[in-house]
């Protein structure tokens, strides 16, 4: 600090400080909450390519359409044939479309965080009033919201279609609500896993490959082991194996508590007791990914 320095120039020293008329900013300061909200909305828009180039809109929009079209077809068939029930349960839809959901999170999670790391813009964010936790929360919430939009939109299509087809209102509403709970958990879980992996690498392409590898390989490994356990009549082992991949976690959770029919081999989901372990595992994983992100950004934010 130069305050204690004598401003009186030394004899012979011609240094002066001139007031050349710069003004201080005295307008309203929008503060931390505003900055966090802006980061959230920008990240959410970015996850669908809004406000970015046309090229980067193609993939998220395409995946969104691919996600919704089968639902629309199912609804059309149900209305046309006057079916008694929708061909697919609300809770089952995301499990069937898991490849699309995985691709979406794999492509958008690195887009959301890797480029900030690569172009070293993270410290610039933290020169604003926001803290590490704000950045992580905004990014996490934005990606989870984007995933929720992706997974809930087809459910809404199914629900509206079911009502148009004059299916039983109470029954459909219950199924729709269960589906929404399931996709909320799925969105949080997938967003967390995607962001943790993407936040480790500044390379976008490598981040995509790493996220997809974790999601699909773990699912492939788990379902292979489950199929073999089923063939060996070791049905007790099936629910426990299911704990080791994100998709089967959600599947097991919703077949234990949300009235879904399990996609596990043999169609036997976990019991209520085992279901509690599933719930704990899902919530624990979401909390762990959040904790890991905070830890990671404490380091790179400097």
């Amino acid at each position: 600090m130069a305050i204690d320095q004598p401003l009186v120039p030394q004899p012979g020293d011609q240094t002066r400080i001139h007031n050349i008329g710069y003004r201080n900013y005295d307008g309203p300061r929008l503060g931390r909450a505003y900055a966090r909200r802006s980061l959230y909305s920008q990240s959410l828009r970015g996850a669908y390519g809004l406000g970015r180039s046309v090229k980067s809109k193609v993939l998220p929009m395409l995946l969104f359409v691919v996600m919704c079209v089968p639902a629309a077809i199912m609804v059309a068939v149900a209305v046309a044939t006057k079916a008694k029930d929708l061909p697919v349960h609300y809770t089952r839809y995301a499990i069937i479309m898991q490849a699309v959901i995985s691709l979406y999170v794999a492509s958008q999670a690195p887009q959301s965080v890797s480029r900030d790391l690569r172009f070293k813009t993270v410290p610039l964010y933290f020169s604003r009033p926001i803290e590490t936790a704000d950045y992580v929360r905004a990014k996490f919430a934005a990606l989870a919201s984007a995933m929720f939009i992706l997974t809930a939109a087809p459910l809404i299509v199914l629900y509206v279609g079911a009502l148009l087809a004059k299916l039983d209102f109470a029954d459909q509403t219950k199924g729709f609500a269960q589906g929404l709970v399931s996709v909320t958990l799925l969105s949080l879980l997938f967003a967390g896993i995607g962001l943790v992996i993407a936040a480790v690498t500044p390379r976008r392409g490598f981040g995509i490959a790493a996220v997809i590898a974790v999601l699909t390989i773990s699912y492939g490994a788990v379902s292979t082991l489950q199929a073999i356990a089923d063939a060996q009549n070791a049905t007790n082992a099936i629910p426990w194996i299911g704990l080791f991949s994100p998709v089967t976690l959600i599947d097991g959770l919703q077949s234990a508590f949300l009235g879904a029919s399990s996609a596990f081999p043999g169609g036997v989901g976990p019991t209520h007791g085992e279901g509690v372990v599933y719930v704990l595992a899902v919530l624990g994983l979401i909390a762990a990914t959040y904790g890991l992100l905070i830890r990671r950004y404490r380091k790179v934010g400097l």
């Binding site: 090229k55 490849a99 390379r203 997809i212 590898a213 699909t216 292979t224 082991l225 073999i228």
Partner: protein
């Protein structure tokens, strides 16, 4: 046609610490699963085919192919450092060919070797299953590496397109639409594997002749076009 310096640089870029980590983790997982399956189920030919075909050839090999194929050139184009390589007095096709050799080598080492080990763990190479799938992985490595190297030169979103091809086209459409299986690297390599094993367990939807023609055509075509593409490469800004 082969430049040792370019090869060394590519090796270093491909086997940097984090890439090597994920490249090594996938094969390790396959071997661990094989050990678990063997302990749970004992030696069984059908189980071996399920694990090696369903997990190994359908999921692991394409992902390693994507990482090695696009990783050989993609990051360099992405961050612009490829201009230093292009400004050297080397023919562009030479650069592509060298990078292809490296990508093929890396994919083979990380996919075919664990496949062989897993095969022996699962059923001790009964009915030539381990050898058949190793051959399939070797053949698929060449085609995947060439294909994804081309993608790496064509698009900045090479990894996504590579994964869409490998996971959506080959896995999803391949299981729904029979015609999609004719245009699938996985099925072509299985045709070769079928010829090698001669058994009924390893089968393909494509004939050996068709498969061989497609494999050769795709590999040569992709390499040639990647070379052409690199000759007229323009470095765009971010996105």
């Amino acid at each position: 046609m082969y430049d040792p310096t370019v090869a060394r640089l590519t090796y270093r870029a491909l086997l940097g610490k984090r890439r090597a980590l994920i490249l090594g983790a996938l094969p390790l997982l396959l071997i661990v699963i094989s050990v678990v399956v063997r302990a749970l189920a004992g030696a069984d030919d059908q189980t071996a085919v399920d694990v090696l075909g369903g997990l190994g050839l359908a999921t692991m090999v394409p992902i390693i192919g994507v990482i090695a194929g696009t990783g050989a050139i993609g990051p360099e184009i992405d961050d612009g450092s490829v201009v230093y390589l292009l400004s050297k007095p080397l023919k562009r096709p030479t650069i592509i060919f060298t990078k292809l050799i490296v990508a093929v080598g890396v994919t083979m080492v990380f996919s075919a070797v664990p496949m062989l080990i897993s095969g022996f763990i699962l059923n001790g190479n009964g009915q030539q299953i381990a050898v058949a799938y190793t051959v399939a992985a070797l053949v698929a490595s060449i085609a995947y590496a060439a294909l994804f190297l081309l993608l790496g030169t064509v698009s900045r979103h090479a990894v996504v397109f590579g994964l869409v091809y490998a996971l959506v086209w080959e896995a999803l459409f391949g299981s729904l639409v029979a015609g999609a299986r004719t245009l699938s690297v996985q099925q072509w390599s299985l045709a070769v594997a079928h010829k090698v094993s001669g058994g009924e367990l390893v089968t393909s939807d494509v004939g050996l002749t068709t498969a061989t023609i497609f494999l050769v055509a795709v590999t040569l075509g992709a390499t040639w076009y990647a070379g052409q593409k690199l000759r007229s490469l323009t470095l765009a800004g971010e996105e």
